[in-house]
């Protein structure tokens, strides 16, 4: 997949920031999307127009188990989040529901990407190509069970290989 990146230089972006608790009563995905990242950027929804990749610091998605978090981001057109590390429940929620791809990259790769860069994420080759800068970065190895779920298109489609 290819897309333009929006970057927040910040570690530990938590799920209360991604989607505040007051919206956990909301089931409409479009409505959830309108409040995505409200905590740090009230204009997030419009900032993602024409963009599909979110880049952020370490331990992205820490805190609550709310699956509303990846749903809200996906509703804003986010198809991949690149970060040096992810909180585990958030990471699993992204792939279990097949909302978006959590992509673990090195700290240096994270630091080298700027807001507005065009990126190409190639999970098969485990590479992120920065088309704006002509740079290429490695994606951290993905556990077999996770790549299985990603390839299947979500937890409910996953079948144990024969």
């Amino acid at each position: 997949m290819r897309g333009v990146a929006t970057k927040y230089e910040r570690d530990n972006i938590d799920t209360d920031v991604i989607i505040p608790g007051t919206y956990l009563k909301v089931h409409d995905h479009a409505e959830l999307a309108r409040h995505a990242m409200e905590g740090i950027d009230p204009d997030f929804h419009s900032r993602m127009e024409g963009r599909s990749i979110l880049v952020a610091g370490r331990n992205f998605g820490c805190g609550s188990s709310r699956e509303h978090a990846p749903i809200a981001l996906a509703g804003c057109g986010v198809r991949a989040v690149l970060a040096p590390s992810f909180a585990r429940i958030f990471y699993r929620n992204c792939v279990d529901g097949a909302y978006l791809l959590p992509v673990e990259v090195g700290q240096e790769a994270y630091e080298s990407i700027s807001d507005g860069d065009e990126l190409e994420v190639d999970m098969a080759a485990r590479r992120v190509r920065n088309l704006t800068r002509g740079e290429e970065h490695e994606i951290a190895p993905v556990p077999e069970i996770i790549s299985g779920i990603i390839e299947a298109g979500g937890l409910f489609r996953y079948r144990v290989p024969e």
Binding site: D11, N12, N59, C62, G63, D96, E144, F156
Partner: protein, 479 residues
């Protein structure tokens, strides 16, 4: 159980005993003994079952309650919030349709999911427990492997009673020394002090086992407080090997298994870490040396001693630019300057509650600081018991009279102001001394400011009108 004789950890034994299938990378399909459900993370899961024509595989192993958005005021009144009411009706409908036991809002056994599990005797040593809530690790205090999961996984467990999980790394957190008998330093201070040292990602993805003399000394409630906050260091689970205190706690509960004697015997023989078993990571603290902890920033790692001043971003950074920037943003959000003594911080609100600190022992600790005293002018203080059972027991001891007499609100049980889903929220800019678990931006209400601390410290702050070192206080005798 594998029989090759290699030493295993408590976690490893519980994991192995529940493994249905494994993958080469160590991931396992784990059988789930107990699934706890609440109104907020379950509606889409039930809807998914309905759409795919599936049933709940083991309704008898599934237990539901309403906690996240229930009102904590007068429950004889109609609900003010339509969307909350709709979510609660949906849970009622789902439980009726799928045959699941529900401890609903009007029930005498309603309460926060992580309070009622142990209270009812549903939380058992050596079992696997999941819930669509990140504080599920609480149940690990009993030697259970308890993990928070998302809604897709909730649906998967409802449908199959099993879940594919990556095998987590293991971490030992030793709490040595003693918290002492003063009641001023509590398990909350011990776990905050660990998170302060290792940070909000310090145990990321790991299963923690807590051990050491301070853990052995701790009450079951204290161990629950410690395990509860494992997620605030990024852990998947937190566990304590069960001992005689654990076994005593699980006896004579409404749902204690009939073969409890045989179970206790087998738990005693198996549920501990073998000598020589290895972990991936280790961290140790001496709790004899800690002071009451209070958070000053916007993640639980941004915490210091009550006697300290707020660190400068440079001091907090430990040479890491990202930590420095985080501290700067946190200070701006929290509306305080570096160098401010923590005892000068003045809360507008005080919240004693949450799955971290709303059990009977927590309320006793808090009451000891308020008995015969008055809440300071300008402070609004509330106590939200963790369950209806906690509320009843506290009232039987007269704790409600201590709180109400001092000017606290004494409310109905639920998650309440921990996460700001019901009417109990901070206004913009309001500052709260809170016994909950997260001081994230907006957690207790948009632009609200949270300082995490123990129940006795929060109660004392309500009385003093500012954060205060409770070690200098005369605490009322236990009733």
């Amino acid at each position: 159980m594998t029989g090759d004789g290699a030493p295993r950890t408590l976690f490893g034994k519980v994991w192995d005993a529940h493994t249905v299938d494994t993958r080469d990378d160590g991931a396992a399909l784990l059988y789930i003994d107990r699934h706890l459900v609440h109104e907020v993370t379950s509606p889409q899961a039930f809807e998914g079952l309905r759409q795919s024509g599936r049933r709940v595989r083991r309704p008898g192993l599934t237990t539901a309650t309403m906690d996240h958005n229930v009102p904590t005021g007068d429950r004889s009144l109609p609900m003010a919030d339509d969307t909350s009411a709709a979510q609660m009706r949906a849970l009622e409908r789902n439980c009726a349709e799928f045959g699941i036991e529900l401890h609903g809002m009007g029930s005498a056994s309603q309460g926060i999911v992580h309070v009622i599990g142990p209270e009812l005797g549903l939380t058992l040593p050596g079992s696997t427990i999941v819930c669509g809530d990140s504080h599920t690790a609480t149940h690990g205090a009993f030697g259970a492997l308890a993990m928070g999961i998302g809604t897709s996984e909730v649906e998967h467990v409802l449908a199959t009673q099993a879940l594919w999980l990556e095998r987590p790394e293991e971490m030992l957190v030793r709490m040595d020394g003693s918290l002492g008998s003063s009641r001023a330093i509590t398990p909350k201070d011990a776990i905050l002090s660990v998170i302060r040292e290792i940070g909000p990602a310090g145990a990321r993805g790991a299963a923690i086992e807590y051990a050491g003399s301070a853990i052995s000394e701790m009450s079951m409630e204290g161990r629950m407080t410690v395990c509860n906050m494992s997620i605030e260091a990024g852990a998947r689970a937190g566990m304590v090997a069960p001992d005689e205190k654990t076994f005593a706690h699980v006896r004579d509960r409404p749902r204690t298994p009939r073969n409890i004697d045989a179970l206790v015997e087998s738990w005693r023989e198996t549920l501990f870490t073998d000598a020589g078993a290895e972990r991936d990571r280790e961290h140790a603290i001496d709790v004899s040396r800690i002071a009451p902890q209070v958070s000053w920033g916007t993640d639980p790692g941004m915490t210091c001693d009550i006697t300290e001043a707020i660190p400068t971003p440079a001091e907090f950074s430990r040479g890491d630019e990202s930590r420095r920037a985080a501290a700067e943003r946190a200070l701006e959000y929290i509306g305080l300057e570096a160098g401010t003594p923590m005892e000068d911080v003045r809360p507008d609100r005080v919240f004693v509650g949450s799955c971290t600190n709303a059990r009977l022992g927590d309320l006793r600790e808090a009451a000891a600081a308020v008995r015969g005293r008055r809440v300071a002018d300008g402070v609004r203080a509330m106590v939200v018991p963790g369950s209806q059972e906690v509320k009843r027991l506290a009232e039987a001891e007269g704790l409600d009279r201590d709180f109400v007499g001092a000017g606290f609100e004494w409310r109905e049980s639920g998650c309440s102001m921990c996460l700001g889903m019901n009417e109990d929220v901070l206004g913009p800019g309001e500052r709260c001394a809170s016994t909950s678990n997260r001081n994230f931006e907006g957690r207790q209400g948009a632009r609200g400011r949270t300082h995490l601390m123990s129940p006795v410290m929060a109660a004392a702050a309500a009385i003093a009108g500012h954060l205060v070192d409770v070690r200098g206080w005369e605490l009322a005798e236990a009733v």
